[in-house]
């Protein structure tokens, strides 16, 4: 159960090697989290991630989970919920793709879309249903500012996040009044492995900062969280920039 400050006792991270996911897990373990489920494709990275959280004193389990294999989601995730309540689910999987290459390789582009959007729709619905049955819990969905308005430089990733973002907002409204809380997190440029080597955008942030924002959002039961918070204002301005001008912006 979550405590009065929204700190969960059990956490399921979908995308168990996600740096933001792990930073959040570390932060929540420092509060009340004792049980962590890391769901991801079996890999040395996943095992190492589990070991790093175990070292902090949590009871960590890894679960094989592939966002692209949507047919297996219900069974794989159902098993976790059958073991006990999950207070918070963090939907943290996603791929950035390589925009330049993907534009000429539609199959690779589709894989980005399927991981970030279709996979998340499937996993999100399965988890929301399970949370609704247990009558409480938060589903934290990692969206991105890239989904707020598609940019020339990464519209394949951006459009997949736009779909995810819209899905999560709608799911949040559907879950309103069921005891389930859906929170959409929109970080800006986060310095992680996924973005290594790329040119940093303004207002770049870190996985730890996103984790802090998630913890605060859980406490406030926020529906939307921007990281850093200033992006809310920036993006609301950018949203209204006319197309010819937006196209030319160096963002």
């Amino acid at each position: 159960m979550k405590d009065a400050f929204g700190a969960p006792q059990s956490l399921l991270v979908l995308g168990g090697t996600s740096e933001i996911g792990l930073a959040t897990a570390r932060r929540l373990i420092a509060r009340r989290t004792r049980t962590v489920w890391l769901a991801g494709r079996p890999s040395p990275g996943l095992t190492a991630a589990a070991a790093s959280l175990r070292a902090l004193g949590a009871d960590v389990h890894t679960v094989p989970f592939d966002a692209l294999d949507t047919a297996s989601h219900e069974e794989r995730l159902g098993k976790i919920f059958a073991e006990g309540d999950v207070d918070t689910v963090l939907l943290a999987f996603g791929v950035l793709g390589d925009q330049v290459r993907d534009e000429s390789d539609p199959l690779a582009a589709v894989r980005v879309a399927q991981t970030n959007y279709t996979g998340a729709v499937s996993a999100g619905l399965v988890c929301a249903q399970a949370l609704q049955t247990q009558g409480h819990g938060s589903l934290v969905v990692l969206s991105s500012v890239a989904g707020e308005r598609a940019r020339r430089a990464n519209f394949i990733y951006g459009s997949s996040k736009a779909g995810l973002d819209a899905f999560a907002q709608g799911l949040g409204d559907a879950m309103h009044g069921t005891g389930v809380h859906v929170m959409v997190v929109r970080p800006g440029f986060v310095r992680t492995r996924m973005t290594a080597g790329r040119e940093e955008a303004p207002l770049a942030t870190t996985p730890e900062a996103v984790a802090t924002a998630i913890e605060l959002g859980l406490r406030r039961r926020s529906e939307t969280v921007w990281v850093p918070g200033a992006l809310r204002v920036v993006m609301s301005a950018l949203r209204h920039v006319p197309r010819p001008l937006f196209r030319r912006l160096p963002v």
Binding site: M1, K2, D3, A4, F5, G6, A7, Q9, R31, R32, D85, Q132, T133, Q134, G135, H136, G177, T178, G179, V180, R219, R220
Partner: protein, 490 residues
């Protein structure tokens, strides 16, 4: 019993045992028949009085004992928990995904023995209702907390205490017997001194559903209180005054200014009182002399449903505390006060919990034993230094411990304070205070808890193992479960 009156019908009745404990098969049959199904209020999001950690449950409102039994049988995999008027601050009366029995429809005072001072009532009867009925007969509830809007069942389940703990102990000490619906569908009449009673008193509803309670009452001559007030300049002065003078009064409590720092850290206003005897009423007070037992609680309008957060910050609360301290007389004795304003000043403002805004608030109440005054001083100092905006902080000196295995009181000092939940870093800060409390052999109050670290529970409640064992035997499938029980692993 001498005079037995059914207060709903006004007709004298004999109290028939509502449910025969041995007639279980019949009860089971009743449970399955459709006519006996309790009112299904629907699915609702519930919180405690602190308005934190909302969860969802099916709320069922039994109107008879049979309906309660049927509801428990039909509760499903996520179990059931009884809920009264929702005054527990945390998640004690919530059951996410399961069912919650709203007991407030079981609210009949079944019998009053006005000679011996006994009342038999359903668990859903509020202390407010009891006062309305009993005061004119010259009886008062033996223990009342800071609100009279709690049910009798909740009072036993949380084993509440009041300003008279140093004299009278907790609520369950005045229970002559109670009827408990357990997980197997049986109704047990439970008497004090038995393990089931001691597990149920303070057991947070986890042993079963309390259906009715027989309570021993306190005789009073008037509905007024004779109150002594004095100021204490700091915490040590306060403790000295409480130690020296508590035994002279039935009721004693101190409001403490937790924002005062430096030399005045822990300054307080002590109020102590006793039920005013008829002779103490001034001759001029004709109305009071004519109807000395009238119960006239006043009521103010409630705060609006939406209150902006952060209204009660350090500045506003600091100002309030300053005024509250200054307005109290340095010393006054024998002032007459209404029962309601002495015991339940906050009940005058319905929904006062809204003043903390959407984020809600946390109540923190702990007790440390005598000899642990240093811990109390340190905690008060830390709260003051940190500047927790708390305007409802009280310090009380407890009497003897109560028999309930999970009963909160122990001889020593208890401090209760409320803090807006949105205060940043509050969770970690309260965890640090917990460490101090545990190190001093103290405990926090489960009826107010919404955030305790589960690992500390066994150290705080040494009888926890017995409680768990009894619960495992009595309710192997965990039919009775609450968010509190899940969170703390009770």
């Amino acid at each position: 019993m001498a005079a037995e009156t059914d207060f709903e019908t006004g007709v004298d009745t004999r109290v028939a045992p509502a449910l025969d404990p041995d007639a279980d098969p019949a009860l089971a049959a009743a449970a399955d028949s459709a006519e006996d199904s309790a009112e299904d209020v629907g699915i609702d999001t519930l919180t405690g009085w602190g308005r934190t950690a909302p969860t969802h449950a099916r709320v069922i409102r039994p109107r008879t004992y049979e309906e309660a039994a049927a509801a428990v049988r039909a509760c499903g995999a996520r179990g059931s928990i009884a809920r009264g008027l929702g005054r527990a601050y945390g998640d004690a009366a919530q059951n996410a995904g399961g069912s919650v029995l709203d007991m407030t429809a079981l609210a009949r005072i079944r019998a009053v023995d006005a000679e011996a001072g006994l009342v038999v009532c359903d668990a859903g009867v509020s202390l407010h209702h009891l006062m309305e009925v009993l005061l004119p007969l010259g009886w008062f509830v033996p223990v009342t907390p800071g609100t009279r809007y709690v049910t009798v069942g909740g009072a036993v389940g949380a084993d509440i205490h009041g300003k008279n703990h140093h004299v009278s102990g907790s609520f369950s000490r005045h229970v002559v017997s109670l009827d408990l619906l357990t997980a197997d569908g049986h109704v047990h009449t439970v008497a004090p001194g038995t393990p089931l009673f001691d597990a149920t008193a303070g057991g947070m509803g986890l042993t079963g559903v309390i259906l009715s309670v027989t309570l021993r009452l306190l005789p009073v001559e008037t509905s007024l209180m004779s109150v002594d007030t004095e100021r204490a300049t700091d915490l040590d002065d306060l403790m000295a005054r409480l130690t020296a003078g508590d035994h002279r009064h039935r009721y004693s409590v101190a409001w403490i200014d937790l924002l005062a720092r430096g030399a005045s850290t822990g300054r307080a206003v002590l109020t102590r009182g006793d039920h005013a005897p008829y002779d103490a009423l001034p001759v001029r007070a004709r109305r009071a002399r004519r109807s000395p037992l009238a119960f006239r609680p006043g009521q103010l309008p409630s705060p609006p449903a939406y209150v902006p957060e952060g209204l009660l910050g350090r500045t506003t609360v600091g100002l309030f505390n300053e005024l509250w301290y200054r307005k109290a007389p340095r010393r006054s004795t024998g002032r007459l006060q209404r029962l309601s304003s002495f015991f339940h000043p906050l009940d005058g403002v319905p929904h006062w919990n809204r003043v903390y805004g959407r984020g809600g608030f946390v109540q923190y109440q702990f007790v440390v034993g005598h000899g642990q005054e240093e811990t109390l001083r340190r905690v008060v100092r830390r709260i003051a230094t940190r500047g927790c905006p708390s305007f409802l902080a009280v310090l009380k000196r407890f009497g003897e411990a109560d028999p309930g295995w999970l009963s909160f009181p122990m001889p020593g000092w208890t401090l209760a304070l409320d803090i807006p939940a949105s205060l940043s870093g509050l969770g970690a800060f309260l965890d640090e205070l917990d460490e101090e409390v545990v190190a001093a052999g103290g405990r926090v109050y489960l009826a107010k808890d919404s955030r305790l670290r589960p690992e500390l529970l066994a150290a705080m409640y040494p009888r926890l193992a017995d409680f768990r064992e009894l619960r495992a035997a009595l309710d192997p499938h965990a039919v009775f479960v609450s968010d509190l029980a899940r969170r703390l692993g009770l």
